[in-house]
Amino acid sequence: MSTTTIRKLTMARAISEAIAQEMERDPRVLVWGEDVGAYGGIFGATQGLLPKFGEDRVIDTPISESAFIGAAIGASAEGLRPVVELMFVDFFGVAMDQIYNHLAKNHFMSGGSVRHPVVLMTAIGGGYNDAAQHSQSLYGLFAHVPGLKIVVPSNAYDAKGLMIRSIREDDPVMYFFHKGLLGLGWMPSDDWAEVDVPEEPYEIPLGQAHVAGDGKDAAVITIGAMVPKVMAARDRVAQEGISVEVVDLRTLVPLDRRAVVAAAQKTHRVLVVDEDYRSFGMTGEVAATLAEEALDYLEAPIRRLAVPDVPIPYSRVLENTVIPSVDAIADEIRALVK
């Protein structure tokens, strides 16, 4: 019988613990990116790694995202398993070619002979007034291009298991952590995400959605930082007698379409909630899946709630208008079951 130590961890701690455990297990695992060393990562995802593993394995880079993300391509082909941090997902545009034309496609273009076991982790999300170039989610855009696995944890338990699995994958994985879930003292953060986490390493397979809340009147399909907000809205409408199923997708690639369809089959009414832009993204893909595979089960039009195709504005009142709030989610649920 094995004993497992379980502690409450913030998501930031869960992520850095996962990386540390994989670095201990496998000398090929290294970390690099901007301010991942002495600073410990601007959002704490690499906290404690430098003292533990030294400058040979935890490496601060110049502000040269194309070069240091592209370096992960060559390094992984030659035996390393880098975990690379792109400080904010919003900066992807300076390095996208290395990401999507090479890291993502080389395995295919080589007929399977080249592998890039690389985790590209990055901070997403708004809610703290950092405006249009520091508050986006954007995972829908990466999910659109083939060759990248897309992981978006909603809590510390998932964050650890998904990170360990991501590092062990032989494919490039983009790992998106929402700043408002990390449990950073200085950032508004959802306590919901700080949960019990076993000390031992464990994996959560990619492509398996999680039913975060059981319900029968309606289903909300969502991901990342919207999960706790949807759960709060669920509590609120429960008092009005509305029972809501909540599906946390956890990964967009692979997408657990079966779970999406199952939720519709069960509740017949579906709302999709996302912090990414509304059009041509996650909410569209989920709704389309239902229109293809669950049409006969739908008793009401699909509803979508996401950032309404505007850049994230700076001012608090404006940002609060565009990022789905618990209120707005509850309203959508009410409209859905009406």
């Binding site: 110049p62 200085w186 001012s315 404006l318």
Partner: protein, 333 residues
């Protein structure tokens, strides 16, 4: 202080600009903590979000921009206030923007890293290295339109390792357009020291890779800066093409407010204090008899009044309307 061929009133005017910047940044540093204590919380208070202050870097803004006209273009980085102030961006509307108010330059949509002022041809961006290409484009427009205007792209020494630096300097040199690239070397990019990220000691030495002049100005010395900038800007304005300046300066606050700077060696920051340019320039002006103590008092009082006024304006201004979030995505709807 290096050469001082400038008339006293111009020197005092440089000092005045530096005082306004310093007063502004110190005041913002204070205000930024409002509502954020005892536990620092980035999203709380009248000024939320990231805040990158430029106290200590005043000479770069003052010394370069003194040579610019209001129709010259500036592209600035994430640490933009000193440049905006020196360029003459309306301090009230800028401050209102930083407070997220309807009266702000962008009606609260932009915020501290996204100050746009078409009147003074000022803009900035939160993406490191992003200001180089637009400055080349503006300079190209001037050349094409037969205007003697100049564009200046400011960026930190960390930004000089971005691909846009290289591409833009090459394009500017190939197109022979009136642009000056100014690198602020404050020794750090967040926690990463220059010598660990940059393969050469001076980015100005990289100018030779584009066949353009490159000058390093050390000591955070506003007069030396003004002198070097004068040449570079005149050169551009007269149609002789781009150049590159790198200017040693110092970051007196952390990278952003809330940065504990744990990555600095003990005492490291004290060494930079000698580069604090405001008291040094003040002393120089006083000791050389170019400015009287009374004048100094007056200027400081003026700076405080200006800043007070801007902050009062911002505080009293209304928030945007929630519906404003949906406008201005497109000009032609």
């Amino acid at each position: 202080m290096s050469t001082d061929s400038m008339p006293s009133d111009e020197l005092v005017s440089l000092y005045r600009t530096m005082c306004v910047i310093r007063t502004y940044e110190d005041r913002l540093a204070e205000i930024y903590t409002e509502g954020k204590t005892p536990l620092f919380s980035i999203a709380a208070g009248p000024v939320p979000g990231e805040m990158h202050l430029a106290a200590g870097q005043e000479p770069v803004a003052a010394g370069v921009i003194v040579h610019l006209r209001s129709d010259d273009v500036i592209t600035a980085p994430h640490r933009p206030h000193h440049f905006a102030i020196a360029k003459g961006v309306d301090l009230k509307r800028m401050t209102a923007e930083i407070f997220g108010k309807k009266t702000g330059l962008s009606q609260g949509k932009g915020g501290h890293m996204h100050l746009f002022d078409p009147q003074t041809h000022f803009s900035c961006s939160g993406i490191v290295g992003a200001g180089f290409p637009p400055a080349v484009g503006a300079a190209f427009a001037f050349k094409r339109q037969g205007e003697d205007r100049v564009a200046v792209a400011f960026a930190g020494e960390g930004a000089a390792n971005q691909g846009t630096f290289h591409e833009s300097l090459n394009l500017a040199a190939s197109w022979h357009v009136p642009v000056v690239f100014v690198i602020e070397d404050n020794h750090y990019a967040i926690s990463v020291p220059k010598e660990r990220s940059t393969a050469v000691a001076k980015n100005s030495d990289r100018a030779s890779a584009y066949g353009i002049p490159g000058v390093y100005v050390s000591g955070n010395d506003v007069l030396a800066i003004a002198e070097a900038a004068e040449k570079a800007i005149a050169r551009a304005r007269q149609g002789h093409g781009p150049s590159l300046l790198e200017i040693e300066t110092t970051r007196l606050y952390g990278h952003f407010q809330g940065d504990a700077e744990a990555y600095l060696a003990a005492g490291e920051k004290d060494e930079w204090r000698h580069l604090d340019p405001v008291p040094r320039f003040r002393d120089y002006l006083l000791h050389s008899g170019r400015m009287t103590p009374d004048k100094d008092q007056m200027l400081q009082a003026e700076a405080r009044a200006l800043v007070d006024e801007a902050i009062a304006f911002a505080r009293e201004s209304p928030d945007p309307d929630p519906a404003d979030a949906f406008t201005d995505v497109f000009a032609n709807a």
